[in-house]
């Protein structure tokens, strides 16, 4: 009966959404009949700035596509320019980028776990996750000088080196962080009530995930072995990377993927620190980029693609970003239909939406 429908404008301003996205929720009782997203609240048009900033300075702008995945964006952009110009960055720089990339994955996943707990009304778990995240941010700040926007990547390498003495101290601090994370993920993965809320909610089948274009943990939660890190860019080839895959396809599986990736990231960081090669962190760059390049890397949220097109001047001719959240929107639309209103926040969050990324 159409007379029994409630239409709820969910967002753009809503406590569950730190970022603006809008959903037109049509619910009956509390069952969602249809949920159509509407975006464009964060669209800035950043890609249009390439022709007024030099490609080297544009790194700082690329970094500000998103405040959470900032490091990956800057490194992907640098990687793209380096690809266009055929620059080989020093090994140490590659290792440092890998380390920071994994740190930013840690901070992003912890942030997500916190927000996810919050969306389930689990305040104390939210605080717990964010408390651990603060120690990750401390590591970031100590090594790069910025908490969430690191500003450390540079075409040709990185701007700052990290002292070896600091790196060796990092290992002990990682132990403590890992212990805390164990307590945290134990709750996420084993708590009875949380399981009740998560298992079987928002199921995305393997096929749907593949053909609707799911990326990152969303795809891996549905049993897809998809991770750009497997291609072995930066130092990932040296650390023996294997993607974390869960088969459930539901909210629990996606949560489990992220929980397990936390420990995987810690492992990678440990490997990178121990194997850190000595040497320069920066290769001087000469000339201007020309040609086309698809630069891909794995963000905490999935595969990000920077398309760069140079025309031999200091400014790029074209810059396009395809972010994991954008391609995770179609799966989101498909899993929202038929869910409970109370599950809408957690289902929206299971794809870990990063609207800032998505809309540039």
């Amino acid at each position: 009966m159409t007379g029994r429908q409630t239409i709820i404008p969910f967002g753009p301003q809503h406590p569950v959404l730190p970022e603006p996205i809008h959903l037109d929720l049509v619910v009956e009782d509390e069952r969602v009949v249809s949920a159509i997203p509407s975006i464009g609240y964060v669209h800035r048009g950043l890609e249009s700035l390439v022709d007024r900033r030099e490609y080297q300075d544009f790194v700082f702008l690329a970094e500000r596509i998103c405040g959470i995945c900032s490091f990956t964006h800057s490194s992907t952009f640098c990687q793209g320019i380096e690809g266009l110009m055929g620059i080989q960055i020093p090994q140490r720089a590659a290792y440092l980028r890998t380390m920071w990339g994994e740190y930013s994955r840690l901070h992003s996943h912890l942030l997500w776990l916190g927000l996810f707990a919050d969306s389930l009304g689990f305040e104390s778990l939210f605080y717990q996750a964010w408390k651990i995240r603060e120690s990750i941010l401390d590591e970031m700040e100590a090594t790069t000088g910025g908490r969430v926007i690191q500003g450390v990547c540079k075409v040709g390498g990185v701007r700052r080196d990290v002292a070896n003495s600091f790196l060796s101290g990092m290992d002990d601090r990682l132990d403590e962080i890992e212990d805390n994370m164990k307590d945290l993920t134990n709750v996420f993965l084993n708590d009875y009530t949380l399981k009740k809320r998560l298992v079987g909610k928002g199921v995305l089948s393997k096929d749907d995930a593949y053909y609707l274009g799911a990326a990152g943990p969303t795809a891996r939660g549905s049993g897809l072995d998809m991770d750009i890190r497997s291609t072995g860019y930066l130092a990932y080839g040296d650390v023996g990377f294997k993607p974390v895959v869960e088969k459930g396809g539901d909210g629990y599986a996606r949560c489990a993927v992220r929980c397990r990736e936390l420990f995987q990231s810690v492992e990678i960081i440990r490997r990178v620190i121990t194997d850190m090669p000595e040497g320069d962190v920066f290769t001087p760059v000469k000339g201007n980029p020309d040609g086309e390049y698809f630069s891909r890397s794995e963000q905490p949220r999935g595969e990000v693609i920077h398309y760069l097109k140079g025309n031999g001047t200091k400014n790029l001719a074209q810059f396009r970003v395809r972010t994991p959240t954008l391609t995770n929107i179609p799966p989101l639309v498909s899993i929202l239909a038929g869910c409970e209103l109370a599950d809408v926040p957690q289902i929206v969050l299971t794809i870990d939406p990063c609207i800032g990324c998505m809309e540039r």
């Binding site: 700040e141 100590a142 000088g145 910025g146 500003g151 700052r160 134990n186 709750v187 084993n190 708590d191």
Partner: protein, 124 residues
């Protein structure tokens, strides 16, 4: 239920909360807090203005004026990197907030005096 252990642990530990703002926070070495300008070292080369990604810096070479809009500065430190004369520095302390009346552009008069070029002793 699994949470019980964790919250119990929290309860018997001192809270993680800082005492800020009663005591200022210690920042890490190399934290980019705010930009400091040394008027006595600036040669008005304009590099900082050109390479600032957010156009927070303006240099008027003729008037010898260097201005910074703190409410545009992204603290990326690019200007510090490109400044060959060490006139710019990143301090660790964060920048202070302002009400509309307090808010303004920081203007500095460049006091740099081009040093007398040392006599070319080697020329002799």
């Amino acid at each position: 239920m699994k949470m019980f252990k964790t919250i119990l642990k929290q309860f018997f530990h001192t809270p993680a909360t800082t005492t800020f703002p009663n005591t200022p926070l210690e920042n890490f070495e190399g934290t980019r807090g705010h930009l400091v300008f040394d008027p006595s070292k600036c040669t008005s080369c304009m590099m900082c203005m050109k390479r600032c990604p957010s156009q927070a810096i303006t240099v008027q070479r003729a008037e010898k004026i260097w201005t910074l809009d703190r409410f545009r500065c992204v603290m990326c430190g690019n200007c510090v990197d490109v400044c060959k004369f060490d006139a710019l520095l990143m301090e660790r302390e964060y920048a202070k907030s302002a009400t509309p009346t307090e808010r303004g552009v920081e203007t500095y008069e460049i006091t740099y005096v081009k040093p007398e070029r040392p006599k070319k002793e080697t020329a002799e």
